[in-house]
Amino acid sequence: MPSSVSAPDRVNDFVVKFANVNGTGSASANSLIMKTIFRMGVPVTGKNYFPSNIQGLPTWYEIRVTRDGHAARSSRVDIMVAMNAETYQRDVREVVSGGYLIYDSTWPRSTLLQRGDINVLGVPLAQLVNENFDGVRNRILLKNIAYAGVIAALLDLDLTVIDALLRESYGKKPKLLDSNSRALKLGYEHAKRHLSCPLPLHVKHLDKTRGYIMIDGNTAAGLGCVYAGATVGAWYPITPSTSLMDAFKGFCERYRVDADTGERNFAVIQAEDELAAIGMVLGAAWNGARAFTPTSGPGISLMNEFIGLAYYAEVPAVIFDVQRVGPSTGMPTRTQQADILLCAYASHGDTRHVLLFPANAEECFYMAVKAFDLAERLQTPVFVLSDLDIGMNDWMCRELKWDDAYQPDRGKVLSEQELASLDKFYRYVDRDEDAITYRTLPGTSSKGAYFTRGSGHNQYGGYTEDSTEYQFVLDRLKRKFVTAARYVPEPEILGGGDGKLGIVSVGSCDGAVREAIEVLARQKIAVDYMRIKAFPFTQQVETWLASHTTIFVVEQNRDAQLRALLTLETQVEKSKLHSILSYSGFPMSCDPIVDRIRASLAEEPRLSAVPAKGPR
């Protein structure tokens, strides 16, 4: 037997990974364990690595217990719960030396499970469950709860917390509550009797999750749409954005249905495709409703023609792109940030679009609201560039708050009275010299009637093929993008460095970057950090880039799309920007960032943009 991983310093700081078969109900067991740790006051992150499949393919769930509250995944695995014979071989390989492997010992141990430097713990899970429960499906489901019981014993999880969670889940179904409690106890007691519990790696109560919640980004974004007052949502189902509309619909059914009449203050339209979905959003927004569509990369590709119309005809729209791995169908259940350029310049002709980059579930909520304000203020499509990691994984984040004083910014919309006071209404005349013109809604008054078109138009809204008239409008649209930079969120800037060496990043890289900065600081390498929250880039972005001399651009795509956008849209010298890229499809860990920066500094001044090796 190899020795245990050295004891006290790994309490509340380790990774447990579950290897399962998808469609067997393992998700509820895994989230039960994660939620228990969270309720014990210990920060956690959970990452679900699932296949694009309904049943039968391998799936993993990774829980990082992180007393320091890191948000990124860790690339190490301390404890592997190997429940999938098909993936034993690779799962065993992944465990860190001195770590633990838990497997179902009902059947003889596979030779694949041999490894001298780890602790292999067998529990006859199938046997335990088969002896105590009936029904094939039932046994499959409860075997998961049984291993949760084993883990509870090994990690010293608080049984009262687990019990409360089970009651919350199955309180209304006493039969289910009973079988789940019994299965959990089976695993727990077996582990207590036959294994040395707890492991040196275990969980102890802390008080670091008070004021926090566990929520996924899609749910938070859907909730944000409800709070922002969105009334029309149109979509076509696509992974990983589907749960955003599910959340919106669920919240609307709770908050937007008249108790007396059953009338609904919302419309969710499942469109025939993404082209229709964005068309519906434009129709609704043109008609004065706050409207949005959630989608992913392939959907954005389809929407391009309409996005150009919205840009040119100046129709508000909110588009959530929950990014997944491309190109083409790519890997639908893996994460990436590879739609940055696609969204920034979507559609043919000269177009540029406003982008928001949430870094976590909490920002999905607030940026959803912000997106509607921006779309209506600027009369243009606004993209919220989330990703699968943010959208579908549970994130520990501060409790969401709402300011009841909030009033939506509906932008420049003329009322009937305001129209009456005008000599004549022209749709695209820049009265305020901020490049944003006034619009009217159908039904207001015939004086405000105008013709919305994607064909060449002059500032009066009339059709034109006259170069001067056409360019006049196109140039104003360019100025409107300058105005947009005044409205979008400023970057988040973190000091700590010498003001010369810095990291620039976006979105879900944030956790990995922050952890890398901490690791580097311990190695006496001080680095500044700027997290960009929006495009167009603000003056603060420009200033920060100008003042730093060596800048690492961290992003999750192959082609350094953020770096490309920075070189196109700011004055920054291209040679100052060095890429650290991760495009494996798995969420980033801090390792490639730390390794790359250390290596680069060692071989200074020859810094080059070689992609770092992604985890696995």
Binding site: I215, G229, A234, W402, Y450
Partner: protein
């Protein structure tokens, strides 16, 4: 096209409708279509229908896609908002607009290319969704702006201007709509204003998706001998199965209809459509029979016109299915849309 802009001032003796508006006030900008284009006759019929319906211009929303037909929304009711969408995608704009404000009246103008090729998917799904709107196809069997290619509605054997003969079977929008369960399906001819105007009025007042396929010859690319969509061919082959009269809610019936030959259908706003059957065996409320009748006539190159099918009692209209609030969604006050801080605080317990 006409080359003279009409003066804006109308002669005081012009007849006015109940809103005190003349027909001139339902006109739009000058048409840029070819002189003699069937589409311009349809535009005139729409203007007449809106005037007769006492439609407030701001209550009407005009939508279109791309093509000759889609240009025409600029040529009527300039006091209405218009939206010229991208090619074939007008139905989605209409669906979204209608979702946001159920109180306005929506008219979509499309063509055979816009509806039956590039926009087929959206048309089909707007019918399925039963979005309340009048969807008018100006059908000429040919692509005009790109100079004379066959469209998907071109008949087998029809000859193009340059001599090419079409060998692919046509997609007939009327049969398509019937097969999908559309609740208002009509066909007419741009040269028959007397038939077209009441159809447009009834379509605008129908509670649900109303499709009117209007045969509208293209004088430039499809009006020659050998074409089955020319004025001459259409006049010789169209066959009115029934004539529809539209009777507004408060209006009394002034014509005596022979007993047994007319059917009355009440629309949801109280107006009525009186159908005078020219073929005694025809029943426009029987969808299956209507389909068989139309298909049988088509085999002999005969286009049945009139209100082919109507089902005013359907409950599949979009807002009915959605149970949308009677207050249009774009006017529901923000306070009723946002649940507020207390609700959020309560909700957070679910995620702790």
């Amino acid at each position: 096209m006409s080359f003279i802009n009409k003066p804006k001032v109308a002669h005081p003796s012009l007849p006015k409708n109940a809103l005190g508006l003349t027909r001139r006030q339902y006109e739009g900008s000058m048409s840029t279509l070819c002189a003699g284009c069937g589409h311009d006759s349809i535009t005139a019929a729409i203007i007449e229908a809106c005037w007769e319906l006492d439609m407030r211009p701001e209550q009407l929303v005009k939508l279109s896609g791309i093509g000759c037909s889609s240009k025409t929304t600029a040529y009527f009711v300039s006091g209405s908002h218009g939206f010229n969408a991208v090619h074939g995608r007008m139905p989605s704009i209409a669906s979204g607009a209608n979702a946001a404000n159920r109180e306005l009246t929506y008219i979509g103008i499309s063509g055979d290319g816009d509806s039956l090729s590039i926009g087929m998917g959206q048309l089909v799904h707007a019918i399925r969704r039963n979005v309340s709107m009048l969807y008018l196809i100006e059908n000429n069997g040919v692509y005009g702006l790109t100079k004379g290619q066959f469209s998907a509605s071109a008949d087998i054997g029809s000859q193009a201007k340059r001599g090419e003969v079409n060998r692919s079977p046509p997609i007939d929008p009327v049969l398509l709509a019937l097969s999908l369960g559309a609740t208002f399906v009509a066909r007419s001819f741009s040269g028959d204003k007397a038939q077209l105007v009441p159809l447009i009025k009834a379509g605008l007042r129908h509670n649900g998706f109303a499709l009117i396929d209007v045969l509208s010859p293209c004088v430039t690319f499809n009006d020659h001998e050998g074409s089955t969509k020319s004025y001459t061919f259409t006049r010789e082959h169209y066959h009115a199965a029934m004539e529809a009269d539209f009777v507004a809610p408060q209006q009394s019936i002034s014509v005596d209809y022979p007993l047994g030959e007319s059917t009355e259908v009440q629309l949801h706003d109280g107006s009525r459509v009186i159908l005078r059957k020219l073929d005694a065996n025809y029943d426009p409320t029987d969808r299956g029979a209507a389909y068989a009748y139309i298909e049988g006539k088509l085999k002999h190159n005969e286009y049945v016109t009139g209100l082919i099918h109507i089902n005013e009692s359907s409950s599949t209209e979009f807002h009915t299915v959605n149970r949308t609030s009677q207050t249009p969604l774009n006017r529901v006050p923000f306070e009723r849309l946002t649940p507020g801080s207390a609700a959020l605080e309560k909700l957070m317990a679910r995620y702790r």
